[in-house]
Symmetry: C2
Subunit: 279 residues, 2 copies
Protein backbone atom coordinates (compact mmCIF):
# COMPACT_ATOMS: atom_id res chain seq x y z
CA UNK A 1 0.00 0.00 0.00
CA UNK A 2 1.13 3.50 -0.76
CA UNK A 3 1.55 5.66 2.28
CA UNK A 4 0.69 9.30 2.67
CA UNK A 5 1.72 11.67 5.41
CA UNK A 6 -1.74 12.57 6.75
CA UNK A 7 -0.30 14.94 9.34
CA UNK A 8 0.11 17.71 6.77
CA UNK A 9 -3.67 18.07 6.28
CA UNK A 10 -4.66 21.66 6.91
CA UNK A 11 -1.11 22.92 7.33
CA UNK A 12 -0.38 25.82 5.03
CA UNK A 13 2.73 25.63 2.86
CA UNK A 14 5.27 28.41 2.84
CA UNK A 15 4.49 31.38 0.64
CA UNK A 16 6.05 31.30 -2.81
CA UNK A 17 6.38 34.18 -5.24
CA UNK A 18 5.17 33.36 -8.74
CA UNK A 19 6.66 35.98 -11.02
CA UNK A 20 5.38 36.15 -14.59
CA UNK A 21 5.86 38.31 -17.64
CA UNK A 22 3.56 38.97 -20.60
CA UNK A 23 5.49 36.24 -22.43
CA UNK A 24 4.30 33.67 -19.89
CA UNK A 25 0.74 34.93 -20.38
CA UNK A 26 0.98 34.67 -24.17
CA UNK A 27 2.69 31.27 -24.01
CA UNK A 28 -0.19 30.05 -21.85
CA UNK A 29 -2.75 31.46 -24.28
CA UNK A 30 -1.06 29.75 -27.24
CA UNK A 31 -0.74 26.57 -25.21
CA UNK A 32 -4.53 26.41 -24.90
CA UNK A 33 -4.99 27.03 -28.61
CA UNK A 34 -5.79 30.75 -28.71
CA UNK A 35 -6.24 31.88 -32.32
CA UNK A 36 -4.72 34.89 -34.01
CA UNK A 37 -8.00 36.85 -34.03
CA UNK A 38 -7.99 36.76 -30.18
CA UNK A 39 -5.33 39.45 -29.95
CA UNK A 40 -6.37 40.52 -26.45
CA UNK A 41 -4.74 37.28 -25.23
CA UNK A 42 -1.72 37.32 -27.55
CA UNK A 43 -0.38 40.85 -27.93
CA UNK A 44 1.35 42.71 -25.13
CA UNK A 45 0.63 45.98 -26.96
CA UNK A 46 -3.10 45.31 -27.35
CA UNK A 47 -5.02 48.58 -27.27
CA UNK A 48 -6.88 47.82 -24.04
CA UNK A 49 -3.97 45.96 -22.49
CA UNK A 50 -3.10 42.28 -22.68
CA UNK A 51 -5.76 40.13 -20.99
CA UNK A 52 -4.99 36.98 -19.03
CA UNK A 53 -7.20 33.95 -19.52
CA UNK A 54 -8.33 33.23 -15.94
CA UNK A 55 -7.35 29.55 -15.94
CA UNK A 56 -3.78 30.89 -15.90
CA UNK A 57 -4.45 30.60 -12.16
CA UNK A 58 -3.72 26.87 -12.56
CA UNK A 59 -0.21 27.65 -13.81
CA UNK A 60 0.45 29.91 -10.85
CA UNK A 61 -1.14 27.43 -8.45
CA UNK A 62 1.01 24.53 -9.66
CA UNK A 63 4.00 26.18 -7.99
CA UNK A 64 2.15 26.12 -4.68
CA UNK A 65 0.89 22.53 -4.76
CA UNK A 66 4.06 21.06 -3.23
CA UNK A 67 2.71 17.54 -3.41
CA UNK A 68 6.02 16.25 -2.10
CA UNK A 69 4.75 17.26 1.32
CA UNK A 70 2.54 14.16 1.06
CA UNK A 71 5.60 11.92 1.05
CA UNK A 72 7.10 9.94 -1.81
CA UNK A 73 4.47 9.72 -4.53
CA UNK A 74 4.30 7.28 -7.42
CA UNK A 75 3.09 9.72 -10.03
CA UNK A 76 2.14 6.92 -12.42
CA UNK A 77 -0.72 6.16 -10.00
CA UNK A 78 -1.59 9.79 -9.40
CA UNK A 79 -4.50 11.11 -11.46
CA UNK A 80 -5.79 14.67 -11.65
CA UNK A 81 -9.52 14.19 -11.14
CA UNK A 82 -11.06 17.63 -10.71
CA UNK A 83 -10.14 21.27 -10.92
CA UNK A 84 -11.82 24.48 -9.86
CA UNK A 85 -10.87 28.13 -9.98
CA UNK A 86 -12.45 31.06 -8.17
CA UNK A 87 -11.49 34.48 -9.43
CA UNK A 88 -11.64 37.65 -7.37
CA UNK A 89 -9.58 40.07 -9.41
CA UNK A 90 -8.19 39.79 -12.96
CA UNK A 91 -4.50 39.06 -13.44
CA UNK A 92 -2.38 41.99 -14.55
CA UNK A 93 -0.49 41.41 -17.86
CA UNK A 94 2.66 40.78 -15.83
CA UNK A 95 3.42 40.76 -12.14
CA UNK A 96 4.06 38.80 -9.02
CA UNK A 97 1.60 36.54 -7.26
CA UNK A 98 2.05 35.35 -3.71
CA UNK A 99 1.08 31.69 -3.66
CA UNK A 100 0.13 29.60 -0.66
CA UNK A 101 -1.11 26.03 -0.71
CA UNK A 102 -2.71 23.56 1.62
CA UNK A 103 -3.81 19.92 1.46
CA UNK A 104 -7.30 20.44 2.86
CA UNK A 105 -8.47 16.82 2.98
CA UNK A 106 -7.48 13.30 2.14
CA UNK A 107 -10.46 11.00 1.78
CA UNK A 108 -10.37 7.23 1.78
CA UNK A 109 -12.29 5.65 -1.10
CA UNK A 110 -10.97 2.16 -0.37
CA UNK A 111 -9.01 1.62 -3.58
CA UNK A 112 -7.83 5.21 -3.88
CA UNK A 113 -7.00 8.11 -1.64
CA UNK A 114 -8.64 11.33 -2.77
CA UNK A 115 -6.48 14.36 -2.13
CA UNK A 116 -7.91 17.88 -2.08
CA UNK A 117 -5.29 20.58 -2.64
CA UNK A 118 -6.14 24.26 -2.25
CA UNK A 119 -3.96 27.06 -3.52
CA UNK A 120 -4.60 30.78 -3.08
CA UNK A 121 -2.99 33.66 -4.91
CA UNK A 122 -2.59 37.27 -3.77
CA UNK A 123 -0.97 40.25 -5.43
CA UNK A 124 1.76 42.27 -3.77
CA UNK A 125 -0.94 44.52 -2.22
CA UNK A 126 -2.30 41.39 -0.50
CA UNK A 127 -5.42 41.55 -2.65
CA UNK A 128 -6.95 38.15 -3.22
CA UNK A 129 -6.62 37.15 -6.89
CA UNK A 130 -7.74 33.53 -6.98
CA UNK A 131 -8.38 30.28 -5.18
CA UNK A 132 -7.91 26.95 -6.89
CA UNK A 133 -8.83 23.48 -5.77
CA UNK A 134 -7.38 20.39 -7.39
CA UNK A 135 -8.58 16.89 -6.58
CA UNK A 136 -6.20 14.00 -7.17
CA UNK A 137 -6.94 10.28 -7.08
CA UNK A 138 -4.02 8.31 -5.78
CA UNK A 139 -4.72 4.75 -6.86
CA UNK A 140 -3.65 2.14 -4.31
CA UNK A 141 -3.31 4.63 -1.46
CA UNK A 142 -6.77 4.15 0.06
CA UNK A 143 -7.80 1.73 2.78
CA UNK A 144 -6.15 3.59 5.62
CA UNK A 145 -9.38 3.74 7.61
CA UNK A 146 -10.14 7.38 6.79
CA UNK A 147 -13.30 9.33 6.09
CA UNK A 148 -14.75 8.46 2.65
CA UNK A 149 -15.73 12.13 2.21
CA UNK A 150 -19.06 13.77 1.37
CA UNK A 151 -21.24 12.44 -1.42
CA UNK A 152 -20.96 14.70 -4.45
CA UNK A 153 -24.15 15.90 -6.13
CA UNK A 154 -23.93 15.11 -9.87
CA UNK A 155 -24.21 18.06 -12.23
CA UNK A 156 -25.60 17.15 -15.63
CA UNK A 157 -26.88 19.18 -18.58
CA UNK A 158 -30.68 19.13 -18.85
CA UNK A 159 -31.76 16.27 -21.14
CA UNK A 160 -33.00 17.29 -24.61
CA UNK A 161 -32.40 20.99 -24.09
CA UNK A 162 -30.21 22.89 -26.57
CA UNK A 163 -27.23 24.55 -24.90
CA UNK A 164 -27.13 28.34 -24.53
CA UNK A 165 -23.74 28.26 -26.18
CA UNK A 166 -21.75 25.69 -28.10
CA UNK A 167 -18.20 26.35 -29.28
CA UNK A 168 -15.89 23.89 -31.00
CA UNK A 169 -12.12 24.10 -31.21
CA UNK A 170 -9.67 21.86 -33.01
CA UNK A 171 -6.62 21.17 -30.92
CA UNK A 172 -3.28 20.94 -32.71
CA UNK A 173 -1.13 17.82 -32.81
CA UNK A 174 1.63 19.86 -31.11
CA UNK A 175 -0.79 21.22 -28.46
CA UNK A 176 0.65 19.22 -25.56
CA UNK A 177 4.26 19.83 -26.69
CA UNK A 178 3.54 23.54 -26.48
CA UNK A 179 1.35 23.46 -23.37
CA UNK A 180 4.00 21.62 -21.35
CA UNK A 181 6.35 24.61 -21.70
CA UNK A 182 4.06 26.21 -19.09
CA UNK A 183 5.65 23.95 -16.52
CA UNK A 184 4.05 20.48 -16.48
CA UNK A 185 6.81 18.31 -17.96
CA UNK A 186 5.23 14.91 -17.30
CA UNK A 187 6.45 12.72 -20.21
CA UNK A 188 2.93 11.26 -20.45
CA UNK A 189 2.16 14.28 -22.63
CA UNK A 190 4.98 13.90 -25.16
CA UNK A 191 6.71 10.53 -24.95
CA UNK A 192 4.90 7.84 -26.98
CA UNK A 193 6.76 5.01 -25.27
CA UNK A 194 6.09 6.33 -21.77
CA UNK A 195 2.43 6.92 -22.59
CA UNK A 196 2.07 3.46 -24.10
CA UNK A 197 3.64 1.75 -21.09
CA UNK A 198 0.61 2.63 -18.95
CA UNK A 199 -1.52 0.37 -21.14
CA UNK A 200 -4.30 2.93 -20.82
CA UNK A 201 -3.42 5.27 -23.68
CA UNK A 202 -2.61 4.85 -27.37
CA UNK A 203 -0.14 7.75 -27.23
CA UNK A 204 0.70 10.95 -25.37
CA UNK A 205 -2.40 12.66 -24.03
CA UNK A 206 -3.24 16.32 -23.69
CA UNK A 207 -2.83 17.79 -20.20
CA UNK A 208 -6.20 17.82 -18.41
CA UNK A 209 -5.47 21.43 -17.52
CA UNK A 210 -4.98 22.22 -21.21
CA UNK A 211 -8.50 20.97 -21.93
CA UNK A 212 -9.63 22.93 -18.88
CA UNK A 213 -7.98 26.08 -20.25
CA UNK A 214 -9.57 25.56 -23.65
CA UNK A 215 -12.93 25.23 -21.91
CA UNK A 216 -12.28 28.39 -19.90
CA UNK A 217 -11.54 30.26 -23.13
CA UNK A 218 -14.80 29.01 -24.63
CA UNK A 219 -16.75 30.07 -21.52
CA UNK A 220 -15.23 33.57 -21.83
CA UNK A 221 -16.73 33.81 -25.32
CA UNK A 222 -19.90 31.81 -24.75
CA UNK A 223 -20.97 33.27 -21.42
CA UNK A 224 -18.83 36.35 -20.70
CA UNK A 225 -18.99 38.25 -23.99
CA UNK A 226 -15.20 37.90 -24.35
CA UNK A 227 -14.53 39.66 -21.02
CA UNK A 228 -12.22 37.74 -18.69
CA UNK A 229 -13.25 39.72 -15.63
CA UNK A 230 -16.80 38.35 -15.83
CA UNK A 231 -15.77 34.78 -15.04
CA UNK A 232 -15.94 34.16 -11.31
CA UNK A 233 -15.77 30.41 -10.96
CA UNK A 234 -15.29 27.29 -13.07
CA UNK A 235 -15.22 23.74 -11.80
CA UNK A 236 -14.94 20.53 -13.79
CA UNK A 237 -14.18 16.83 -13.51
CA UNK A 238 -11.72 15.13 -15.88
CA UNK A 239 -13.68 12.18 -17.27
CA UNK A 240 -11.71 10.98 -20.29
CA UNK A 241 -8.36 11.60 -21.91
CA UNK A 242 -8.00 13.90 -24.92
CA UNK A 243 -5.37 13.31 -27.61
CA UNK A 244 -3.62 16.28 -29.22
CA UNK A 245 -5.32 16.95 -32.54
CA UNK A 246 -8.82 16.03 -31.35
CA UNK A 247 -11.72 18.46 -31.69
CA UNK A 248 -13.41 19.66 -28.52
CA UNK A 249 -16.92 21.01 -28.17
CA UNK A 250 -17.66 23.16 -25.15
CA UNK A 251 -21.32 23.73 -24.27
CA UNK A 252 -23.10 25.67 -21.57
CA UNK A 253 -26.66 25.69 -20.23
CA UNK A 254 -27.98 28.50 -18.03
CA UNK A 255 -29.10 27.12 -14.68
CA UNK A 256 -30.11 29.29 -11.70
CA UNK A 257 -27.37 31.89 -11.86
CA UNK A 258 -24.70 29.56 -13.20
CA UNK A 259 -23.91 27.67 -16.38
CA UNK A 260 -23.77 23.90 -16.44
CA UNK A 261 -20.78 23.09 -18.63
CA UNK A 262 -19.92 20.03 -20.63
CA UNK A 263 -16.95 19.34 -22.90
CA UNK A 264 -16.91 16.45 -25.32
CA UNK A 265 -14.94 15.02 -28.20
CA UNK A 266 -17.57 13.73 -30.63
CA UNK A 267 -20.05 12.10 -28.24
CA UNK A 268 -17.53 11.25 -25.51
CA UNK A 269 -17.71 13.56 -22.51
CA UNK A 270 -14.22 14.64 -21.39
CA UNK A 271 -15.12 17.30 -18.80
CA UNK A 272 -18.22 16.56 -16.76
CA UNK A 273 -19.88 17.62 -13.50
CA UNK A 274 -18.90 21.12 -14.51
CA UNK A 275 -20.27 24.56 -13.90
CA UNK A 276 -19.25 28.16 -14.36
CA UNK A 277 -20.38 31.24 -12.48
CA UNK A 278 -20.29 34.47 -14.44
CA UNK A 279 -21.19 38.04 -13.57
CA UNK B 1 19.12 61.86 -44.13
CA UNK B 2 19.55 59.24 -41.49
CA UNK B 3 22.94 59.23 -39.88
CA UNK B 4 24.99 56.27 -38.80
CA UNK B 5 28.02 56.18 -36.58
CA UNK B 6 30.56 54.77 -39.05
CA UNK B 7 33.33 54.80 -36.47
CA UNK B 8 32.11 51.55 -34.93
CA UNK B 9 32.92 49.51 -38.05
CA UNK B 10 35.19 46.63 -37.12
CA UNK B 11 35.02 47.30 -33.41
CA UNK B 12 33.96 44.21 -31.49
CA UNK B 13 31.10 44.53 -29.03
CA UNK B 14 31.46 43.40 -25.47
CA UNK B 15 30.96 39.71 -24.82
CA UNK B 16 27.50 38.69 -23.72
CA UNK B 17 26.44 35.41 -22.17
CA UNK B 18 23.42 33.84 -23.85
CA UNK B 19 22.04 31.29 -21.41
CA UNK B 20 19.39 28.89 -22.68
CA UNK B 21 17.47 25.90 -21.40
CA UNK B 22 15.84 23.02 -23.25
CA UNK B 23 12.59 25.02 -23.03
CA UNK B 24 14.12 27.78 -25.18
CA UNK B 25 15.22 25.14 -27.67
CA UNK B 26 11.76 23.56 -27.84
CA UNK B 27 10.04 26.97 -28.01
CA UNK B 28 12.25 27.81 -30.99
CA UNK B 29 11.46 24.49 -32.67
CA UNK B 30 7.72 25.04 -32.23
CA UNK B 31 8.11 28.64 -33.40
CA UNK B 32 9.41 27.37 -36.74
CA UNK B 33 6.57 24.90 -37.08
CA UNK B 34 8.20 21.66 -35.94
CA UNK B 35 5.65 18.84 -36.00
CA UNK B 36 4.95 16.26 -33.32
CA UNK B 37 6.67 13.45 -35.22
CA UNK B 38 9.97 15.38 -35.00
CA UNK B 39 10.48 14.49 -31.35
CA UNK B 40 14.27 14.97 -31.51
CA UNK B 41 13.54 18.72 -31.60
CA UNK B 42 10.66 18.76 -29.09
CA UNK B 43 11.36 16.39 -26.22
CA UNK B 44 14.05 17.01 -23.64
CA UNK B 45 13.98 13.30 -22.77
CA UNK B 46 14.44 12.14 -26.36
CA UNK B 47 16.38 8.86 -26.41
CA UNK B 48 19.41 10.27 -28.20
CA UNK B 49 19.19 13.67 -26.52
CA UNK B 50 17.29 16.77 -27.57
CA UNK B 51 18.68 18.18 -30.82
CA UNK B 52 18.89 21.90 -31.55
CA UNK B 53 17.89 23.12 -35.02
CA UNK B 54 21.06 24.99 -36.11
CA UNK B 55 19.28 28.22 -37.06
CA UNK B 56 18.81 28.64 -33.30
CA UNK B 57 22.13 30.45 -33.78
CA UNK B 58 20.08 33.42 -35.02
CA UNK B 59 18.29 33.61 -31.65
CA UNK B 60 21.58 33.57 -29.78
CA UNK B 61 23.13 36.04 -32.23
CA UNK B 62 20.30 38.55 -31.86
CA UNK B 63 21.54 39.27 -28.34
CA UNK B 64 24.94 40.23 -29.78
CA UNK B 65 23.79 42.46 -32.64
CA UNK B 66 23.62 45.60 -30.50
CA UNK B 67 22.44 47.71 -33.43
CA UNK B 68 22.08 50.68 -31.08
CA UNK B 69 25.83 51.08 -31.47
CA UNK B 70 25.00 52.45 -34.93
CA UNK B 71 23.23 55.44 -33.38
CA UNK B 72 19.51 56.16 -33.22
CA UNK B 73 17.83 53.93 -35.79
CA UNK B 74 14.38 54.33 -37.31
CA UNK B 75 13.44 50.68 -37.34
CA UNK B 76 10.52 51.31 -39.69
CA UNK B 77 13.16 51.92 -42.40
CA UNK B 78 15.37 49.05 -41.33
CA UNK B 79 14.95 45.85 -43.35
CA UNK B 80 16.58 42.47 -42.73
CA UNK B 81 17.92 41.61 -46.19
CA UNK B 82 20.12 38.53 -45.82
CA UNK B 83 21.13 35.97 -43.25
CA UNK B 84 23.84 33.35 -43.06
CA UNK B 85 24.91 30.85 -40.44
CA UNK B 86 28.12 28.84 -40.26
CA UNK B 87 28.14 25.96 -37.83
CA UNK B 88 31.22 24.45 -36.27
CA UNK B 89 29.82 22.40 -33.42
CA UNK B 90 26.23 21.43 -32.57
CA UNK B 91 24.45 23.23 -29.76
CA UNK B 92 24.03 21.27 -26.55
CA UNK B 93 20.37 20.87 -25.41
CA UNK B 94 20.96 23.63 -22.85
CA UNK B 95 23.94 25.75 -21.98
CA UNK B 96 25.67 29.07 -22.17
CA UNK B 97 27.02 30.68 -25.32
CA UNK B 98 29.50 33.53 -25.26
CA UNK B 99 28.38 35.98 -27.90
CA UNK B 100 30.40 38.70 -29.55
CA UNK B 101 29.29 40.93 -32.40
CA UNK B 102 30.79 43.35 -34.85
CA UNK B 103 29.52 45.65 -37.60
CA UNK B 104 31.96 44.51 -40.28
CA UNK B 105 30.96 46.91 -43.07
CA UNK B 106 28.52 49.64 -43.98
CA UNK B 107 28.14 50.03 -47.72
CA UNK B 108 26.60 53.01 -49.49
CA UNK B 109 24.03 52.04 -52.11
CA UNK B 110 22.89 55.62 -52.65
CA UNK B 111 19.33 55.26 -51.37
CA UNK B 112 20.16 52.81 -48.63
CA UNK B 113 23.03 51.99 -46.36
CA UNK B 114 23.79 48.28 -46.26
CA UNK B 115 24.94 47.11 -42.87
CA UNK B 116 26.79 43.83 -42.39
CA UNK B 117 26.64 42.52 -38.83
CA UNK B 118 28.69 39.53 -37.74
CA UNK B 119 28.09 37.62 -34.55
CA UNK B 120 30.16 34.71 -33.26
CA UNK B 121 29.25 32.22 -30.55
CA UNK B 122 31.56 30.15 -28.37
CA UNK B 123 30.86 27.67 -25.61
CA UNK B 124 32.32 28.02 -22.13
CA UNK B 125 35.35 25.96 -23.26
CA UNK B 126 36.00 28.69 -25.86
CA UNK B 127 35.09 26.26 -28.63
CA UNK B 128 33.67 27.99 -31.67
CA UNK B 129 29.98 27.10 -32.11
CA UNK B 130 28.78 29.40 -34.87
CA UNK B 131 29.22 32.54 -36.90
CA UNK B 132 26.26 34.46 -38.25
CA UNK B 133 26.11 37.33 -40.68
CA UNK B 134 23.05 39.50 -41.05
CA UNK B 135 22.69 42.14 -43.75
CA UNK B 136 20.33 45.03 -43.14
CA UNK B 137 19.12 47.66 -45.58
CA UNK B 138 18.63 51.00 -43.93
CA UNK B 139 16.47 52.95 -46.35
CA UNK B 140 17.34 56.64 -46.54
CA UNK B 141 20.69 56.22 -44.84
CA UNK B 142 22.84 55.99 -47.99
CA UNK B 143 24.53 58.80 -49.90
CA UNK B 144 27.26 59.38 -47.34
CA UNK B 145 30.00 58.97 -49.95
CA UNK B 146 30.95 55.46 -48.89
CA UNK B 147 32.06 52.34 -50.73
CA UNK B 148 29.15 50.72 -52.63
CA UNK B 149 30.57 47.30 -51.74
CA UNK B 150 31.42 44.27 -53.86
CA UNK B 151 29.09 43.06 -56.61
CA UNK B 152 27.27 39.93 -55.45
CA UNK B 153 27.21 36.89 -57.73
CA UNK B 154 23.59 35.75 -58.19
CA UNK B 155 22.81 32.18 -57.12
CA UNK B 156 19.90 30.64 -58.99
CA UNK B 157 18.53 27.11 -59.30
CA UNK B 158 19.36 25.50 -62.64
CA UNK B 159 16.53 26.14 -65.12
CA UNK B 160 14.33 23.17 -65.95
CA UNK B 161 16.06 20.79 -63.56
CA UNK B 162 14.05 19.00 -60.90
CA UNK B 163 15.29 19.73 -57.37
CA UNK B 164 17.09 17.02 -55.40
CA UNK B 165 14.64 17.63 -52.60
CA UNK B 166 11.37 19.46 -52.26
CA UNK B 167 9.58 19.80 -48.93
CA UNK B 168 6.40 21.78 -48.24
CA UNK B 169 5.21 23.03 -44.89
CA UNK B 170 2.03 24.85 -43.96
CA UNK B 171 2.68 27.66 -41.51
CA UNK B 172 0.08 28.29 -38.83
CA UNK B 173 -1.90 31.50 -38.49
CA UNK B 174 -0.39 31.87 -35.00
CA UNK B 175 3.14 31.14 -36.27
CA UNK B 176 4.44 34.70 -35.82
CA UNK B 177 2.66 35.12 -32.46
CA UNK B 178 4.54 32.06 -31.23
CA UNK B 179 7.85 32.77 -32.98
CA UNK B 180 8.10 36.23 -31.45
CA UNK B 181 8.32 34.69 -27.96
CA UNK B 182 11.90 33.82 -28.99
CA UNK B 183 12.74 37.49 -28.57
CA UNK B 184 11.86 39.56 -31.65
CA UNK B 185 8.92 41.61 -30.42
CA UNK B 186 8.55 43.93 -33.43
CA UNK B 187 4.80 44.67 -33.62
CA UNK B 188 5.03 44.27 -37.41
CA UNK B 189 4.59 40.56 -36.72
CA UNK B 190 1.41 40.75 -34.63
CA UNK B 191 -0.25 44.17 -34.76
CA UNK B 192 -2.58 44.51 -37.79
CA UNK B 193 -2.76 48.29 -37.44
CA UNK B 194 0.99 48.71 -37.16
CA UNK B 195 1.58 46.37 -40.10
CA UNK B 196 -1.00 48.18 -42.23
CA UNK B 197 0.49 51.60 -41.50
CA UNK B 198 3.58 50.76 -43.55
CA UNK B 199 1.40 50.60 -46.66
CA UNK B 200 3.47 47.64 -47.81
CA UNK B 201 1.67 44.80 -46.07
CA UNK B 202 -1.93 43.62 -45.81
CA UNK B 203 -1.36 42.45 -42.25
CA UNK B 204 1.27 41.21 -39.80
CA UNK B 205 4.04 39.29 -41.58
CA UNK B 206 6.06 36.31 -40.50
CA UNK B 207 9.55 37.03 -39.20
CA UNK B 208 12.10 36.56 -41.99
CA UNK B 209 14.09 34.49 -39.53
CA UNK B 210 11.07 32.26 -38.96
CA UNK B 211 10.96 31.47 -42.68
CA UNK B 212 14.73 31.00 -42.49
CA UNK B 213 14.34 28.56 -39.61
CA UNK B 214 11.63 26.64 -41.45
CA UNK B 215 13.98 26.40 -44.43
CA UNK B 216 16.80 25.20 -42.17
CA UNK B 217 14.54 22.47 -40.81
CA UNK B 218 13.68 21.39 -44.36
CA UNK B 219 17.37 21.31 -45.33
CA UNK B 220 18.08 19.06 -42.33
CA UNK B 221 15.58 16.57 -43.72
CA UNK B 222 16.18 17.11 -47.43
CA UNK B 223 19.97 17.20 -47.43
CA UNK B 224 21.22 16.01 -44.01
CA UNK B 225 19.17 12.85 -43.43
CA UNK B 226 17.64 14.48 -40.34
CA UNK B 227 21.02 15.02 -38.66
CA UNK B 228 21.57 18.58 -37.45
CA UNK B 229 25.35 18.14 -37.18
CA UNK B 230 25.64 17.67 -40.94
CA UNK B 231 24.61 21.25 -41.76
CA UNK B 232 27.67 23.48 -41.97
CA UNK B 233 26.40 26.64 -43.64
CA UNK B 234 23.18 28.21 -44.88
CA UNK B 235 22.83 31.60 -46.48
CA UNK B 236 19.74 33.23 -47.95
CA UNK B 237 18.27 36.52 -49.09
CA UNK B 238 14.81 37.66 -47.94
CA UNK B 239 12.99 38.46 -51.17
CA UNK B 240 9.34 38.69 -50.26
CA UNK B 241 7.21 38.76 -47.15
CA UNK B 242 5.37 35.66 -45.89
CA UNK B 243 2.05 35.84 -44.07
CA UNK B 244 1.33 33.46 -41.21
CA UNK B 245 -0.79 30.63 -42.59
CA UNK B 246 0.89 30.51 -45.99
CA UNK B 247 2.41 27.31 -47.33
CA UNK B 248 6.14 27.27 -48.01
CA UNK B 249 8.01 24.97 -50.37
CA UNK B 250 11.73 24.53 -49.76
CA UNK B 251 13.76 23.05 -52.61
CA UNK B 252 17.43 22.18 -53.04
CA UNK B 253 19.63 21.36 -56.04
CA UNK B 254 23.06 19.73 -55.65
CA UNK B 255 25.74 22.01 -57.08
CA UNK B 256 29.47 21.38 -56.70
CA UNK B 257 29.60 20.39 -53.06
CA UNK B 258 26.73 22.58 -51.98
CA UNK B 259 22.96 22.81 -52.41
CA UNK B 260 21.38 25.76 -54.15
CA UNK B 261 18.27 26.52 -52.09
CA UNK B 262 15.05 28.26 -52.97
CA UNK B 263 11.93 28.85 -50.87
CA UNK B 264 8.66 29.91 -52.42
CA UNK B 265 5.01 30.39 -51.59
CA UNK B 266 3.16 29.15 -54.66
CA UNK B 267 5.29 30.58 -57.47
CA UNK B 268 6.59 33.59 -55.52
CA UNK B 269 10.19 33.23 -54.35
CA UNK B 270 10.56 34.34 -50.72
CA UNK B 271 14.14 33.18 -50.02
CA UNK B 272 16.53 33.50 -52.95
CA UNK B 273 20.29 33.61 -53.65
CA UNK B 274 20.51 30.82 -51.16
CA UNK B 275 22.82 27.90 -50.62
CA UNK B 276 23.58 25.31 -47.98
CA UNK B 277 26.77 23.37 -47.34
CA UNK B 278 26.32 19.96 -45.78
CA UNK B 279 28.78 17.29 -44.75
Amino acid sequence: MKELDLSIIGKKSEEIIFKYSWKDVVLYALGIGTKIDELQFLYEGYSNGLKVIPSFACIAAARGLQLRRLGKIEFSHFVHGEQSIKLYKPFTPSGEIIIQGEISNIYDKGKAAVIHALVSGYNSNKEHIFDTEAVFFYIGAGGFGGDPGPKVEPINPPKGVNPDFSISYDTDETQAALYRLNGDFNPLHIDPEFAGRSGRFRGPILHGLCTYGIATRAIIYGACDGKVERLKEFKARFTREVYPGERLTIEGWKDNGRYIIQVRKDETVVLSNAYAIVE
